[in-house]
């Protein structure tokens, strides 16, 4: 994050820095160009005035000569006058075509120049060694038919100074035809011109130079360049095609502000150039970049310094700020970790930053409080649930204690054996069984199953069992007992619970069995001979629903050895993990397969079979089995 901010700041800084450099640079270049142009133009016009003045003098003489042929003394007088009135002219000649002045002489060219001590020295040009007709100063104006300035040259006679000659052709008219007659010249020293050019550029800013029509250096700070190198030889030596093009443009009389490659000025440089129109030469002002942009370079250093310092400051500020922003977050993260480990009592330090962090911190605190409350509630609820569960357990224990659990119950009675077992489901269920002796010959037994589960079922079971025991102990027929129990249960049965019961009274002296059923599963009879069969008792309506329900009593006689098996639907409807029931048939098969026929073994056999069938599937209902065996006397 800090890195990102710093990078962004750096990018902005660099962009701003780059743009300002670029802007200043352009500004400087524009200024330099403008100044260079102004200075050059002023200088050029100054030079032009001087050269224009020089040009007028031989032109005037040439016009005079057009009239006719003067005498030699008058010609010399004119030249002397010319020199005396124009101190900037070093020497002047009037050179005639062969035999044009004098039919007998090939060469005629009086020349007068300034001598060593201010005097004027007359002489004559021309001879076998000096055929002036073929020299540039003579031939070029002749062939071009116009006045021209010569290329610069060193004049040894004048003290090896650099000169240029202005040559004006003059003509005569023969039979109306213009005939070239000769050339008037004016030599001028170029020293003043070189001086002006040198002064054009302040020494510390760069330098200026002058090139002739052929591109040859007339003035240049490097003396070795003068009259020896041309802008094109420099271009060729450095294979710089662009410099050559610049040179060509200079000679064409072009103006411009251009960049120069390293080799021209020893470093990258800019050049302004403009022509000297009368000479056809060109002036160049060279500004080395290093000097041009010295100001910018200093500015760059300062800006970079400021930028660097600002950057460091920014770095510190960012670290401090990001530290203050993230510190509460880091604390919160630590505290969250502690809370996650279960310590809800952690103190969350208050934040007063008036921003998202404060909101977060606040929310965090709220969450902590909510969590605490939730956990407290949960503890309370759990405690309540545990209490209920323990109460249910107690209820269960009480319920179970209703059931006779002492076996054998009547050891003195040898005529029959009775055994019962109730395997309670996890929840409190509603199964019940009971047996007791009515008198010396009759034993009452019953089994039942209350609808639903839980405490209501348990209570209803308790009521039912109590009622059955109270009523059946005086009953003669089980059906009547059931009717009475039904009537009692139906009274005020607002909970609409019901119970299935089957019960019987066995005269264990005779083997006569009275049996009645109120909606319960059919008992099984295991005959002494070994057959296993259903006891087809009359069906009756379940107890607790219809007050005026009637029940029938089945009367049959048990043979000694017969065994009666009573059970609840917890047996036949026991489920395995495939959601299959144990079924009635399985019960019959189980009973038939039992080797031992005493009631306890039978009950244990059924229980075992059911458990094996159910496997790991949790038991959902009470399982109750009661076995009664009639032994007879």
């Amino acid at each position: 994050m800090s890195l990102f901010i710093l990078t962004a700041a750096a990018v902005i800084f660099i962009a701003a820095f780059g743009y300002s450099s670029y802007y200043f640079r352009n500004q400087i270049l524009a200024n330099v160009e403008k100044n260079a142009e102004a200075v050059t133009m002023a200088t050029v016009s100054k030079i032009e005035v001087v050269l224009g003045g020089v040009e007028k003098v031989p032109s005037f003489l040439a016009r005079n000569l057009q009239g006719g042929r003067p005498t030699l003394p008058s010609l010399q007088k004119q030249i002397i006058d010319l020199l005396q009135t124009n101190p900037e002219i070093f020497g002047s000649a009037v050179a005639y075509e062969p035999f044009a002045f004098d039919k007998k002489s090939m060469y005629f060219a009086p020349y007068i120049c300034r001598g060593g001590y201010g005097g004027l020295v007359p002489s004559f040009l021309g001879g076998e060694d000096y055929q002036y007709f073929f020299l540039d100063w003579y031939q070029i104006p002749k062939e071009l038919g116009k006045a021209v300035w010569s290329e610069p040259y060193f004049d040894e006679g004048a003290g090896n100074i650099m000169m240029s000659t202005y040559s004006v052709p003059f003509y005569n008219f023969k039979e109306g035809e213009k005939v070239f007659t000769g050339i008037v010249t004016a030599d001028i020293s170029l020293e003043w011109l070189k001086e002006i050019i040198e002064k054009l550029t302040p020494h510390q800013a760069g330098y200026s130079f002058l090139i002739s029509r052929n591109g040859v250096f007339v003035s240049h700070p490097d003396k070795d360049y003068i009259m020896r190198e041309s802008i094109f030889s420099i271009a060729e030596a450095n294979q710089d095609a662009s410099l050559r093009e610049i040179g060509r443009d200079m000679l064409r009389g072009g103006k411009g502000f251009v960049t120069l490659n390293r080799h021209f000025a020893g470093q990258k440089a800019w050049m302004y150039y403009a022509p000297l129109p009368s000479l056809g030469w060109s002036i160049g002002l060279v500004f080395p970049e290093e000097k041009l942009f010295a100001g910018i370079s200093r500015l760059k250093v300062v800006i970079l310094g400021i930028g660097g310092a600002g950057f460091l400051a920014l770095l510190v500020v960012i670290f401090v700020i990001s530290g203050t922003i993230t510190k509460p977050l880091r604390i919160l993260a630590d505290k969250a970790g502690e809370i996650a480990r279960g310590n809800l009592e952690v103190e969350v330090p208050p934040v007063r930053s008036h921003d998202e962090v404060e909101v977060l911190s606040h929310s965090f605190k709220n969450m902590q409080v909510a969590l605490k409350e939730y956990i407290a509630n949960l503890a309370e609820t759990t405690a309540a649930k545990e209490r209920i569960e323990s109460e249910l357990k107690i209820a269960r224990t009480i319920q179970m204690s209703f059931l006779p659990k002492r076996f054998p119950p009547f050891p003195e009675k040898e005529e029959f054996e009775i055994f019962a077992a109730l395997e309670p489901a996890k929840e409190v269920g509603g199964d019940l069984y009971d047996f007791f002796l009515i008198d010396d010959e009759h034993v009452f037994f019953s089994i039942g199953d209350v609808s639903g589960k839980g405490v209501p079922a348990a209570l209803f079971m308790a009521v039912t069992k109590t009622l059955i025991k109270g009523i059946a102990s005086q009953a003669v027929f089980p059906s009547l007992a059931l009717e009475q129990v039904n009537q009692e249960l139906c009274k005020d049965n607002e909970s609409s619970m019901f119970v299935t019961v089957c019960c019987g009274i066995l005269n264990f002296r005779t083997g006569e069995l009275l049996f009645s059923n109120a909606g319960h599963n059919l008992p099984v009879v295991i005959h002494a001979a070994g057959a296993v069969d259903w006891l087809n008792s009359p069906e009756g309506f379940l107890l607790g629903v219809m007050e005026d329900a009637h029940y029938e009593t089945l009367r049959l006689k048990l043979n000694p050895g017969d065994t009666l098996i009573l059970y609840t639907d917890g047996v036949t409807e026991a489920m395995n993990d495939r959601k299959e029931f144990f079924t009635d048939q399985a019960l019959l098969r189980t009973l038939a397969a039992c080797q031992e026929r005493d009631p306890e073994a039978l009950v244990a056999g059924v229980m075992k079979a059911v458990k094996e069938f159910a496997g790991p599937e949790p038991q959902s209902d009470d399982i109750t089995v009661l076995a009664l065996r009639y032994r007879g006397r």
């Binding site: 020299l135 004048a158 052929n214 094109f232 030889s233 060729e236 030596a237 040179g247």
Partner: protein
């Protein structure tokens, strides 16, 4: 304008002093021992056209051949033929066509080595004046050097051109200013001067005479016949050392340019290195035009016949002397 006079007078003075020394020196040298004292004057001002001689001198090749050589400053003030005629120099270089004309004028010189094989003489014109082929020169103004008219005139005849000729001076400025449509030029010298004055090569049309059947091989080494007869071995040694100098110069062009610039600076004749580099490169093209393994310095009989024939035809010489009277094949034997 006083310039020329000044140079002339001074040079004549120098030449006179040198000449008087030369008259005295051979006797001294002979007395001293094995080294032959000899003098050489190139036909023009110091430039890469004579690089072979300068390099041979600087590298001691002449001394190796037993020659104690003096090199004089050549130029317009000291015409080569006159320097030989007046015995002020033993050896010089000359164009073949010039040498034949001098021989005709009773200057008994012999060629002891034909350095250049190909003519560097060209006409150069501005395309801007509508000149692209020889026929375009018709009725145009062309500047010609007074002493070198044979080839151009033969060229004009060959193409049936009627040309207005103007005498060409020492510079090409007349051409540069547009005073003439075409000018004479040495490919190795004036042509590059024009380029170096800002005219691009593609703006120029060139007519190489050797490409128009007018190959007049130029620079050769010349001595007076009597000099050769007095010391044929010494003359051939000079030719061999000169050839070695050229071979060295072509193999080490920058070193050769250093030598040339040294002579140019000593003579104060101006000229820049770029120009000399161009000249040296062109000299190789002209001295060894075909194969770098070609032997330097052989005068081809065919070239000789062609040049002599052309001179005779233009009336510049009357008779063509046999090749073996004009040429000593010093550089063919070794």
């Amino acid at each position: 304008m006083r310039t020329r006079e000044g140079i002339l007078t001074r040079s004549v003075l120098v030449a006179a002093v040198v000449a008087s020394l030369l008259i005295i020196l051979p006797g001294l040298a002979a007395a001293a021992g094995e080294l032959r004292t000899m003098t050489f004057i190139p036909q023009w001002l110091p430039q890469a056209q004579f690089a072979g001689c300068y390099v041979a001198f600087e590298k001691g090749f002449y001394r190796e051949e037993g020659i104690d050589l003096k090199i004089l400053k050549g130029g317009p003030d000291a015409p080569a033929a006159a320097m030989l005629a007046s015995r002020r120099a033993d050896f010089t270089t000359m164009f073949l066509s010039e040498a034949l004309q001098h021989r005709e004028k009773q200057l008994p010189i012999v060629n002891i080595g034909q350095i250049m094989q190909r003519s560097g003489f060209i006409l150069v014109a501005k395309k801007g004046r509508g000149i692209n082929k020889p026929a375009d020169l018709n009725q145009k103004k062309v500047s010609l050097w007074p002493n070198f008219q044979v080839q151009p005139q033969a060229f004009f005849r060959k193409y049936g051109l009627s040309v207005k000729t103007v005498v060409q001076g020492a510079t090409v400025n007349l051409f540069l200013r547009g005073g003439v449509d075409a000018a004479s030029a040495m490919w190795y010298n004036e042509y590059h001067t024009i380029i170096n004055a800002g005219v691009n090569e593609d703006e120029l049309t060139t007519f190489f005479f050797d490409q128009h059947g007018l190959n007049f091989p130029e620079d050769g080494i010349y001595v007076l016949k009597e000099t050769y007869e007095r010391d044929p071995e010494g003359c051939c040694r000079f030719a061999r050392a000169t050839r070695k100098g050229w071979e060295y110069a072509f193999a080490h062009p920058e070193e050769a340019l250093d030598v040339v610039m040294k002579y140019i600076n000593a003579a104060h004749t101006g000229g820049n290195r770029v120009h000399q580099r161009w000249m040296l490169t062109r000299m190789k093209d002209l001295i060894q035009p075909g194969d770098a393994r070609d032997r330097i310095g052989i005068l081809n009989p065919g070239d000789y016949a062609a040049v002599a024939g052309a001179l005779q035809k233009s009336g510049l010489i009357k008779t063509v002397i046999p090749l073996d009277e004009f040429y000593v094949p010093c550089l063919e034997k070794h």
